[in-house]
Amino acid sequence: MSYFSDIYNGMKTLFTGLSVTGGYFIRARKGSLTQQYPDNRETLKMFDRFRGEVVMPHDDVNEHRCTGCQACEIACPNGSIEIVWDRAVDPETGKKKKKIDKHIYHMSMCTMCGLCIEACPTDAIVWAQNYENSVYDRSLLTKVLNQPGSVVKAGIED
């Protein structure tokens, strides 16, 4: 007797499950979540806070906000940020002031933890929302964030 009831129960649960999948089969277009990824690059927008890559924004006269205080370098847990700095004479006060020579970012070592951006006192570095970061050579992932010839914006102190 249990043999037949097992067959009956088996068929019943099978069709219960099939009713769920069958429902989606009929309404496939409506509930679809998948994206046509490489084809929708133009319209695909990441969220504002998406952690893609660390960048240093420059304004139109090639000025950034980095004073070279090295807070990001100290905050970084895995040595992704390296700052080459020297001292330049401030034309107004005549004092020697720290300035960055190169703000080097090793993206190959970065874990996107965000501690550097949290640590920056002058908001000189921010997240960019890039999502296609793969390259053919690892050395291409080492980037200099400050543009050549750029200077720190006047009035920014750490």
Partner: protein, 372 residues
């Protein structure tokens, strides 16, 4: 004559490696099986394939930097791990975080638990041969990941907690998205039940398989849904409430059967409880500071600090031994997966290899959490 026949058809025990690369192991875990035919005689886990010495790296890093390493242990409950470290450091500093931080941490914890259980449900079905569950679960998990991505900036390794609070405030869309998700997910769990829970093939493969008694669960130090499936009340959220768990009303799910099916039912019921916790908190997130003021270089006083939290897999303990410098002297994580793995040999003896796969799926192992 009978003796010679017996000799002729006698069986021998032999070894089979399950893993390190095995789809049912969910990571690089090698199980050395001693089997007789298809009957399991002994299971010996061999660990260390994804050991990254996180505990040793913690001794090198400052207290803020430790937090991001714990993302990489149990990556499916990353926010809960982060919170555990932050709470341990806050214990040491005797720092009280604002109510807003507590509530947001709790909501994100529960969302993390939902995402983790979602993935577990999909993978449990997939391990037992039902591929559909995987896609359905990932469809719903995607909505949670979007919430995380919008608020924290990352989908899995969030690193949203810092000692003293949160890195930044929640996104303006957070509350709406979370409510949308809860409304959506409430219609989906009954669908999960129709698809898998009541299915006769699934029930036959899980009911009465891998029975863990309450005594053994306690003896082996098992925690989380595995222990609660055996009737062992071990929910840290209930017994030692942290963050905002003391102000919400939720049941601790207990099943007494102790088999694979009971562990399955515990997690399904926990998803309902998680949603109820989120619903109680989401409407009135209190105002307050998002970060309590801390020094740029955190130095814990000399001593030992311990904090337990309930991750999606069980009890995670963070032990920090400080000598008063800016780095911890020793950090130890009591990970739930490691203790749960110890009981695997005990309960899978005498079963079939296919039963072992079902038991492994119901334990919901995350191997980086076991190896650290």
């Amino acid at each position: 004559m009978t003796n010679t026949l017996k000799d002729r058809f006698k069986t021998e025990e032999y070894f089979v490696n399950m893993g390190p690369q095995h789809p049912a192991a969910h990571g690089v875990l090698r199980l050395i099986l001693t089997i007789d035919g298809e009957i399991i005689k002994n299971v010996e886990p061999d660990l260390g394939y994804i050991h990254r010495s996180i505990e040793k790296m913690c001794e090198r890093d400052s207290y803020q930097q430790i937090v991001h390493l714990t993302d990489r242990m149990d990556y499916l409950s990353s926010n809960i791990n982060n919170e555990a470290v932050c709470l341990a450091v806050e214990n040491g500093l005797e720092l009280e975080v604002s109510d807003r931080v507590k509530v947001i941490r709790t909501i994100i914890d529960e969302l993390t638990r939902l995402a983790s259980h979602c993935l577990w449900w999909g993978v449990m079905g997939m391990d037992l041969g039902a591929l559909t569950t995987y896609f359905y679960a990932f469809r719903d998990r995607e909505m949670i990941n979007d919430i995380f991505e919008e608020t924290c900036g990352a989908r899995l390794t969030m690193n949203y907690n810092v000692p003293g609070g949160l890195m930044f405030d929640i996104h303006p869309n957070f509350v709406k998205r979370t409510k949308d998700f809860i409304a959506h997910f409430k219609t989906k769990i009954p669908e999960y039940d129709r698809l898998l829970t009541g299915n006769i093939i699934f029930e036959n493969r899980t009911k009465g398989v891998g029975i863990l008694t309450r005594e053994d669960a306690i003896a082996y130090g098992v925690s989380g849904p595995v222990a609660r499936g055996s009737g062992f009340s071990s929910d840290v959220r209930k017994h030692q409430p942290y963050s905002a768990y003391d102000r919400v009303d939720f049941k601790e799910i207990l099943f007494t059967e102790g088999d694979t099916y009971a562990r399955y039912k515990v997690r399904i019921a926990e998803m309902w409880e998680s949603m109820s916790i989120i619903e109680q908190l989401i409407d009135n997130i209190p105002e307050g500071d998002i970060q309590a003021p801390t020094k740029a270089v955190i130095k814990l006083p000399k001593g030992e600090f311990y904090q337990r939290v309930e991750t999606a897999r069980g009890e995670l303990g963070v032990y920090i031994n400080s000598t008063g410098t800016k780095n911890p002297y020793r950090v130890k994580f009591r990970s739930p997966g490691f203790s749960n793995l110890s009981v695997l040999n005990h309960i899978s003896k005498g079963g079939k290899i296919a039963d072992l796969v079902a038991i492994m799926a119901s334990f919901d192992f995350v191997i980086p959490d076991i190896d650290r």
